[in-house]
Subunit: 327 residues, 2 copies
């Protein structure tokens, strides 16, 4: 019932434990001996236990990855690319989904550390002092995605400039009743930097009066917020902090009888492919999430190898859809 061990394999094959170990790790083993060991291993379906191996060996070839959710287009794209890239180098990513639970995010950092992973990648939504404290005492390569943090390697999107571009686009199209659907400032990247870029872009083109609506990243909550807003407001433009929010706004605007873009312009951020179902197509920013994931994998491996690494900013593409027109 209990699993067979290397010691037993060695006995059955009539060799020493160390020889079996060498067999598995590419050391010197005579062809004849090799065949004997191979036969026994096959017969008993033996596979060396990786827990025991990790205990003594230098490498675990595991990278801990912590994500706030797996049910968002954004994280899915980053994670899939990250995953592919890590495997190319023989590393296995272990994924923990915190489901937006802050506490779990912190404990996951610690539990990965105890698990002897060689590095940790954190897809962040907000960095608290507690995060900084734990990360700094972690003694492990750590990379943070999507949020800035001093003294740590980060991979961030160019939120400010992307926001600025959208702001200018809307401003030059002479909108007058602009509504910004955004998220909490706790998310520094999206809630502050991206927002500030948008506001600056608008201001640059003479628009200083903007209605701000706060929501979380969920579809349902965003619909609520927009619906309430439309009761006593008549925007001619809605700038949404993510494509998901834009889809929520799309639905509510549609329901309220607005025509897009004739009555109201709409923009998002992200470049999700599901947005392709929208008619008219959405004007948005497409971030290169795949590149973000790949870069994270490359950098963490560099760090593990002991090479110096610098933070990176990921670019974007402006998608000129049909959801914005000149007023």
């Amino acid at each position: 019932m209990t699993k067979i061990t290397m010691k037993e394999i060695a006995e059955f094959a009539g060799v020493g434990k160390s020889t079996v170990s060498r067999y598995f790790n590419g050391g010197y083993v005579k062809e004849e001996t090799r065949l004997r060991i191979e036969a026994i291993c096959r017969e008993y379906h033996y596979q060396p236990n990786s827990v025991a191996k990790t205990l003594k060996a230098r490498h675990s070839y595991q990278i801990g990855v912590i994500t706030p959710s797996i049910d968002s287009r954004t994280s899915a794209r980053v994670l899939t690319a990250l995953d592919e890239q890590l495997r190319l180098s023989g590393y296995t990513p272990l994924l923990i989904n915190t489901n937006h639970n802050q506490i779990r995010e912190l404990t996951s950092l610690e539990s990965f550390s105890r698990m002897n992973v060689e590095g940790i990648i954190l897809l962040a939504t907000q960095i608290t002092p507690e995060h900084e404290r734990i990360i700094h005492k972690l003694r492990l390569p750590v990379i943070i995605l999507a949020q800035e943090m001093a003294g740590v390697v980060t991979i961030t999107l160019d939120d400010y400039t992307a926001g600025y571009d959208i702001g200018r686009k809307i401003g030059t199209a002479r909108h007058r009743a602009v509504c910004l659907l955004g998220v909490s400032e706790n998310d520094k990247a999206v809630g502050r930097t991206r927002k500030q870029g948008i506001l600056d872009g608008l201001k640059e083109t003479g628009i200083t009066q903007v209605d701000f609506l706060e929501t979380d990243f969920s579809f349902a909550a965003s619909r609520q917020v927009v619906r309430a807003y439309l009761k006593d407001h008549r925007p001619d433009c809605m700038i949404c902090a993510t494509d998901n929010l834009a889809m929520a706004a799309f639905k509510e605007l549609h329901t309220a009888g607005y025509r897009i873009p004739q009555d109201v312009s709409l923009t998002g951020f992200g470049g999700y492919d599901v947005c392709e179902v929208l008619t008219p197509s959405l004007t948005t920013i497409r971030f290169d999430y795949e590149r973000e994931g790949r870069t994270a994998a490359e950098l963490i491996l560099e760090m593990i190898a002991g090479n110096p690494v610098e933070s990176v900013k990921i670019g974007y593409t402006f998608i000129h859809g049909e959801s914005v027109i000149e007023r």
Copy 2:
């Protein structure tokens, strides 16, 4: 630089290694000793290494979870629920995303087994003989989701009956040019059982002539397939094997100038919330994916506890949207 160990903590605290171990595992430790150890641990930020612990201890409190993708609404919902439920019992799910790579699915089963996880949950898309071979020799509790497999505990959706309901619905609404957008028969649950249910439901209501279109689960590929089909066909109904496919069909039908549902009816399977953006709303089957995930967690824990467990079938709700009308 190297991490501090229990042995060192013991020395610093002036006690034996075993006492420190007992401190962490709730054994007898005098209050005074306890305080001393606590202080030292805090000072050095000591946390017992879980790899070493797992080597000797009976439980690892880890469950291996294998998923073909994380970027689908379906798997995201299952995984999130599964995750939550496992944690309630103190277990940590370790997630490996195979990204639809069959080989990786098989190797993941083995590597989890070597990692001393206590059980494995596999979100399956197809079961090959190779799967059966490996799973049977795994000597570990294994649960398979979404596909049937003899001799193994499975949690499946009621694909046949759900398909049948959709088929009848379309048939009784007197459609005549029905097109079924489905997937490969390699996916037994969706590609065969669900399809057969649909066909039987249609036949029951007198419809035996159905165009069949095969695609994979992706949005892009499905659009291609539908676009090509519409060039020389004029369906009055499209039944899609998932909501994602339905959205792809929606977009192409729309682009081709069809009005839904006046010109063509449309149905899906899944009940994804993004489908809410569609106007008209989609007639579909809502599977209880959250329940599927929760059940998987409950059953694997039962199996670990050594209790007998039976396979389960998960129900659904028929969503009466506005995308189907009588002809």
